[in-house]
Structures are given as C-alpha cells and as structure tokens.
C-alpha cells in the first residue's frame, strides 16, 4: 500500500516458501526450537535403526539405582556387582594344565557371548527403574515410540482431512453434505471418548492400532479448516479466471487452489503432532496404548506413579522433561512457522 507505482525487478523472485524461510531464519527462537526438534528427530532415527538404546531391556543396574549425580544408594550397594575385571588371555602356551585351559576358554566364550549375567552398576547417568533398566535408554526408546506415533498419526489425519475438505469445499452440494454428515457424526463424540471407545473395541494393542485410532479420529480439525479455505478460494477471482480460461475442476482444485492452502495444512499438521504425542502418552499410561514390552513415555509415567511414593523420582523427571522439552520446542516452532507463512502487521 505504501509502495510506489513503479517497482524494481531484482534478480531473484522469491516464492512463498523462500520468503517464509527467510523470515524463519531471522527468528532466533524459531531456529533454536528447530534445532531442538531436529535433535529429537535424530535420536528417533538412530533409535529406530537400532544404533542407540537398542538394549534398553538389559537390566544393567540394581533396581531403583539412583542417578550418578546423587551417589549410590547405600541400601542397595550390596546388590551391585562390580564389572568383571578384564581377564588375562586364557591361552597361555606356557600353561601346562589342559583342563584349566579348557575351562578358561569356556569362561571366556561365555563372557563374550550374550551374557545374562551383566554387571549391575550402582548408579547410572539418570538412574534406573524397578528392574534396573537404564532410564536414559528408556527415554530415548520411549521417545521413538511416542514421536513416531505422533508424526504418522498426524500425517494420516491431515491427509484425510485435506482430501475430504478439498472435495467438500470445492464441489459443494451432495459431496459437501455427505462429508459434513461424517464430520457431524465424528465430532458429536468427544475425541477422547472416541479414542477410548475404539481402543475398547479393538482388543489388539500395538503402535499401528494407536496410529489408526488417532489418525481416523483426528481428521475432523483439518477437514473443517481446509474446507473453509477451499470455499474461500473458490470464490476468489483467480479461480474464476482459471475457470474462464478452461481449467478443469481437478486442475483448479489441485494445481490452483492447493498451493495456496498447503501452508494451512502444514501448520495443522504441526499442531496435531503435538496433540497426538500427548494423547499417546495418556493412552499408554492408561494401558490402552502400546503393548507390554514396548516402552513409551506414557508407560514410563505409569511406572513413575508408584515409584514416587518410594521416593524414586528420576523416571518421572526424565520422561516428563524429555516430553516437555520436545513439545515446547515443537509448539514454538509451529507458532513461528505460522507467523512466517502468514505474517500480519500487528
């Protein structure tokens, strides 16, 4: 509005995403949040590939071992077994006793194989849980579960919601009525109730089940927003112009309107990821989420509830702070992303 009528055409012409990226780069909070989220995603990747925390189920410490900065618990010290000292090479050609040699070889082999008798430490970097599992490894592995569920479920929900919303908003009429009916039915039941109901009905537990439950119930939010966007854009002159020059309905819907609406879908997705991570944690806490044997932040909180009464707070702290850190970073980044894509002069 304050621009002069002539315009200088500079070298490169930035599109929406380039401009948004520039704005994001200038926002320090956004960059820090992005880095934190990136670290978490990296740990998820490494954990999924089995490069870290694959051995979280090993009982490497005494039960309820306290964190290293607190020092070992005298009451449990007796249970600790120091790590076995490195054995001298069993094959001593100058040793005369063949039987002793054999025994030494067997003992060596046993030590180097998957030893069930692993050394039990008195303290771990962030303590141990009831069975002596390393909290750090559990947190990483649990994070993998919770984050993957959040991401995939959000992807499913946004994909469904966007497709339905686009069809509904663009075509209107019977198609709109049908999807609206679905929307009304699904939103009449509060989402928590919906999730619990489906969890009750699907007796099988598993990561896929949770993803399906969250994804198939969570599409309603994106649907409403994307539908409203499509209705708005369909009435805009550039879409009418596309119609006038002969673009087909599909072309208008996906080639013309969708690029103008994709940033809304992206922001929706980031909001849903946060919501679904929190939902997974609650579900797993209640026992309706991941099956026994799979660790998630929710199952960690479940165990932590009882441990707190015994005065053992480290599993609670680990799960709670890891989750809080990720969700905070993600939320701040999502806010910054929304502002970068659609800046308003305040």
């Amino acid at each position: 509005m304050m621009r002069a009528d002539t315009v200088q055409l500079h070298a490169a012409s930035p599109g929406l995403w380039t401009l948004a990226w520039r704005r994001l780069r200038a926002d320090r909070v956004a960059m820090v949040s992005l880095a934190v989220v990136g670290l978490f995603l990296l740990s998820v990747l490494l954990s999924a590939l089995g490069l870290v925390a694959a051995d979280w189920e090993d009982e490497v410490a005494v039960n309820y071992a306290p964190p290293a900065f607190m020092g070992p618990d005298p009451a449990l010290a007796a249970l600790a077994t120091p790590p076995a000292p490195a054995p001298p090479n069993a094959f001593d050609p100058l040793a005369g006793d063949i039987a002793a040699l054999k025994a030494a070889l067997v003992a060596d082999a046993a030590r180097q194989g998957k030893a069930t008798q692993v050394a039990k430490a008195a303290t771990l970097p962030f303590g141990a849980d009831k069975w002596g599992h390393d909290i750090v490894r559990k947190t990483i592995k649990g994070g993998q579960t919770s984050i993957v569920v959040g991401l995939v479920a959000a992807l499913v929900a946004v994909a469904l919601g966007t497709l339905f919303g686009a069809l509904s908003g663009f075509y209107g009429g019977v198609v709109d009525d049908l999807f609206n009916w679905f929307y009304n039915v699904f939103t009449s039941i509060p989402s928590i109730l919906m999730i619990l109901t489906v969890a009750a009905v699907l007796q099988t537990r598993g990561v896929l089940t949770i993803v399906l439950i969250l994804g198939l119930t969570g599409w309603t939010g994106p649907y409403r927003l994307i539908r409203a966007e499509y209705i708005k854009h369909k009435a805009r002159e550039y879409v009418m112009a596309a119609d006038a020059i002969g673009a087909s309905g599909w072309r208008r819907m996906f080639v013309h309107i969708f690029p103008n609406v994709s940033h809304v879908a992206l922001v929706q997705m980031s909001i849903l990821v946060v919501g679904f991570i929190k939902a997974e944690v609650i579900l797993s806490f209640l026992g309706f989420g991941v099956p026994v044997g799979v660790v998630s932040w929710g199952s960690m909180l479940n165990e932590a509830q009882n441990e707190l009464i015994l005065g053992k707070w480290w599993q609670l702290a680990a799960a709670a702070s890891a989750m809080a850190l990720l969700v905070t970073a993600f939320s701040l980044f999502a806010d910054a992303l929304r502002d970068a894509l659609d800046p308003k002069l305040k």
Partner: protein, 563 residues
C-alpha cells in the same frame, strides 16, 4: 482574528518500520495549514501519504510500527500536539478534533446500538447524563438526515445501509461541536448518488457549525464543489498547495496538471487519454486541444452477440423448508457488434457484474439466451462451451485477487495456451508470452516473477495479457479499472483501446464510474435493481437522459469548474 491557522503542520516526517532494524520514510517532511472555518482538500493517489498525515494529526498511528521524527510539529490552535501526554491528547480527540473514516460498516462497533455509540461521546466529553445524551442524539440523527430517528437510535449498524452508517459516523463526529473535522475518503465506498448527498451534508454542516474540514480524497474532481483550499500530495511530499480556484484552474505543478487531465471527463473524448508521464516530462502542453474520437453503433452491422431476456436468480433458505428468491438480473437484452464497446453502468446491487459473470457461465443463468455466432451460450453443454472459452474472456475488478499468488507470470500466461493447445510446443508458447508481455507494456523479466511484486496497474496488464493468449472476440471488463489510481487507470484504458483497435475485440465494459464509461463506450446500458432502465448511444444518453434514474445518476457526478 488570530495570527495562526487552526491546524499547522510543519516539517512532518513519518517512518514505517518494516522489520526490526529498517525503516522506510513514508512522509518526507510536509507542511500545510488548515484555517478555521474553511474546507481544505488533501488530494493524492494511493501511497501518497494523505491518510497517514491525518492519522498522525489524530495520534492514531500505531506506536509499534511508526516513528514520527522529533523535528516534526503539529500545532492545533497554537498548542503543540506532539508534545502533549497521551491522556491530554485523547481528551482533544472527539471533542475539538473529530474524524470519520472510509469504511463506515467496520468503523462502527457492531454490537452496540447507534444511539449508544453517539451517546458515549456526549457522556464522556460533555458530561451529559443518559437522558440528556439521548435527547441530543435524537437531534443529531435528525440533523444528519437519518429517516425515522426515534426508531433508528436503537438500531444496530448492521441494520443500516452504507449511506446511513456514514451519516451516523458524521453525527458521532459533530456531536461535541468540534472545531476541526477530518474526513478520510468518506464517500469512496458509497454509490455516486449517496456520495453527492453526503458531500452536501458535510458542506452544510461546515457552514452551520463554522468548523474547519480537512477532506481527504483521491479524486481531484470531487473537491471542486466544496474546497476552499487544495493540497496535492505525491509519494509523501506536498506538490502544490493553494486556493482551490488557483490549483484547479491554473495548476503550477506538473503532477497536479497531470492529475487533472488524466481523468476522462464528460465533455471530451480524446483518442488517447493523457497519462502522468506526458505531463511530468513536459511533453504535453496544458491546454492543447486533443484529437477526439467519435463513438456509436453503426447502422446495419450484424451483431456478434445477441442477448435476450437474460435472467439470474439466487436462492436462499428461509423458514422451515422454504426458499427465498433474489432476482439479481431480471430481464436484460442487448446486442454487441464486432469491434464496439457496450458500457454497462449502475450502482452496487444493480446486477451489472452478475450479467458479465453469467455470460461467461461462471454463474448459471436462470433464463434467457445469449446467441454468439448463432449458438446459445447459456444452454450448451459444458463440453461444447469449452471451445467457446477461447472466444469470450473476462478481466476482473480486483487486480490483487485475479492472479494466482503461487504462479509465476510465465505460468499464468502459459496455462491457457497449454489447455487450448495454442502453439506447437512450449518454446513457441514462451515466445508468444514474451511478445504479449511487451505488448501490454511489461518487461520480459516479468515472466519469472510472482504477482506480489507488481502494482495494481501492472497486475491488470498481466490479466489482460492472459486473456490475449486466447485472442478472444469478446472481452468482458468487470470494473477492471475501478480499483486503480487515476494515473494508472488512464494507462490501462489506453491499452484496452489500442488492443480493440488492433484486434477488433468487442468489449462489455461494466463500471459504476460514469465518466469512464462515457469515454470508452459506444453504447451505454443503464441498470437498476436487475433491469435495464435505459440504453442509447453514449453521447446521446449523456446529453439527453430519458429515464429519471439515469438523470439522477448523471446529476450526481461531481463537476469540476471548467478546465
């Protein structure tokens, strides 16, 4: 008699913050004065800084994004406003200085009644109690010409028309008998007949209450009837200032001269409209006579398009199961010969835009026919119509919404060619696109740019180029120049005329601006509430309007003293 003017602005500089570090200078050190009991018109195009100046006087510029330079001075009746603490400054507002804005619908609080909002000022500044405030409000509503004030005082803004809302804003502004009334484009959003009434109201109130009025507008032609002094601004600077007669009849500055002459007027029809550049570069002599163009439908020409009894109704749900019908277009018939322009004129709600959209089948017609080359456009199938999309095209009003913000200009131009398989391959199409860009006066580099880098006028040219890729025979111009500044409007009108001369296109030119329509049309059709009330050759219609509605429309056009 005092030795200073009521409002004295000296060396005002205003900066806008565009991000954390950088600012841009919006107002570059302007000075002007408003004497008491006089009307001063502040004229400029968009981006000139006229609104920003008035907001600065009122202290309404948002502090987070604007910076007023320390060397600026705004004195009201001798007091330096910029030195006053906020509290005191607020007390001046509404009482001694009042302001009315361009969009009355959004400027009034939608959840309070009209009477409450007017009464608020009375209770706050004049210390009235509820009963006194209500009585005074009734008197005010009557003074500004609201019909049935006793009922309207308890109405909500959404229950009133645009003209009535603006009257309410005026009532609110003059409630405390201010000494200065600032009116920021108060009639721009209103129909031309209402505009005339509001202008008369403001002029009458000015005389009666002996207020000073600072009237801000982009339309230099509007101020001739009411202004004592005129200030012309451009790009944040004052170009000319002086008594109205002097500025309008003997302008000194080249920009002012350009502004006066670029507007199409009712009494002349030059072959080409002069543009700002012609005056700024000194090429044009101010009073040189320009060759005129003759217009009108020729006899015996076979029409290209014959529209007969076109009708379009919209349906709304009402009651339990019922439907309500709104007849936007009732019974419209006209013909359009090759290479001629039919102007369609009317106020908002007349149905003129709906006619254009229905012809393009962007709305489904409810009745009637449109014979193009012997085939009825309204009843053919979608597949058949696809071929006709090449032959009839449309340019919309809002240049900021008619181009897809995510497409580059190149993509916008190539798309219609690809859909209709014009050109043997993409290389040919790209070459054609470059040619068209040049033809509409844009540089070749525009091909790779996004629309947001272009101004309104340039975007309209891109839209025109898009239509030209298909070489249509009929072009519907739906208020295509209404959203443009006067200087840019002239350029686009010239372009449209050149293209018509070159390609022989027929135009259906829809607009509410009577002067522009007279300039560009061969025949004019006047619409009112969905029907055609009069249709005649342009010169004939404006000389001898038959229908009372046409007459009132023409009477409402502001007349500048003869240039």
């Amino acid at each position: 008699m005092t030795d200073h003017d009521l409002l004295e602005v000296r060396n005002l500089r205003v900066f806008f913050r565009i991000d954390k570090k950088n600012t841009v200078e919006a107002i570059k050190g302007i000075s002007f004065s408003v004497p008491a009991n006089a009307t001063v018109a502040l004229v400029g195009e968009s981006g000139s800084g006229k609104s920003v100046s008035s907001l600065a006087v009122m202290g309404l510029l948002p502090a987070e994004t604007t910076v007023i330079d320390a060397g600026s001075s705004i004195r009201f009746d001798g007091r330096e406003l910029l030195a006053l603490p906020l509290q005191e400054r607020r007390r001046l507002c509404g009482k001694d200085i009042a302001m009315i804005f361009q969009e009355p619908m959004s400027s009034l609080n939608p959840v309070f009644t009209v009477g409450y909002q007017i009464g608020e000022v009375l209770r706050l500044h004049m210390g009235m109690n509820k009963r006194q405030a209500r009585a005074r409000t009734l008197a005010l509503l009557e003074e500004v010409g609201i019909p049935d004030p006793a009922v309207k005082i308890d109405a909500y803004p959404s229950q009133m028309s645009g003209g009535q809302q603006q009257r309410v804003m005026i009532a609110m502004a003059i409630a405390c008998e201010p000494r200065l009334l600032i009116a920021d484009e108060p009639t721009t959003a209103l129909d031309v007949t209402i505009q005339k009434q509001i202008m008369a109201l403001i002029a009458g109130l000015q005389k009666k209450h002996r207020m000073a009025v600072l009237f801000i507008t982009h339309d230099l032609g509007l101020v001739g009837e009411i202004a004592d002094r005129v200030i012309v601004m451009r790009h944040g600077e004052v170009r000319e200032e002086g008594p109205a007669a002097a500025v309008l009849l003997r302008p000194q500055d080249s920009y002012t001269r350009a502004l006066l002459h670029c507007r199409p007027t009712l009494d002349a029809r030059p072959v080409r409209l002069p543009v700002i550049d012609d005056y700024m570069s000194g090429r044009m002599q101010p009073d040189a006579p320009l060759p005129q163009r003759v217009r009108g439908y020729a006899d015996g020409e076979a029409p290209l398009l014959v529209v007969n009894k076109l009708a379009k109704s919209f349906y709304f749900r009402e009651g339990l199961f019922g439907k309500r019908e709104f007849k936007a277009v009732k019974d419209v018939s006209f013909t359009l010969p090759r290479g001629k322009t039919l102007g369609v004129v009317g106020e908002s709600g007349s149905g003129k835009t709906t006619v254009g959209l229905t012809l393009l089948r962007l709305h489904r017609a409810t009745g009637g026919s449109a014979l193009f080359d012997g085939r009825d456009l309204m009843t053919m199938s979608d597949r058949e119509y696809q071929a006709y999309k090449r032959r009839i095209q449309i340019i919309f009003q809002n240049p900021y919404a008619s181009l897809n913000p995510r497409f580059t200009v190149g993509q916008i131009l190539l798309e219609p060619m690809r859909i209709h398989r014009i050109g043997a391959n993409d290389a040919e199409r790209v070459a054609h696109a470059y040619y068209l860009l040049k033809r509409v006066g844009l540089p070749e580099q525009a091909f790779h740019r996004y629309p947001h880098e272009f101004s309104g006028g340039q975007r309209q040219r891109i839209a025109i180029a898009r239509c030209l890729t298909l070489t249509p025979e009929i072009l519907v111009c739906d208020e295509s120049v209404s959203a443009l500044d006067v200087s840019v409007q002239a350029q686009v009108l010239n372009l449209l005329q050149d293209l018509q001369d070159e390609y022989g296109m027929s135009y259906l030119f829809i607009s509410h601006d009577l002067s522009v329509v007279k300039y560009i049309s061969d025949r004019v059709m006047v619409m009112h509430h969905g029907s055609v009330v009069e249709m005649a050759d342009a010169d004939e219609l404006y000389r001898n309007p038959q229908h009372p509605y046409t007459r009132s429309l023409l009477a409402a056009i502001p007349r500048t003293p003869a240039i």
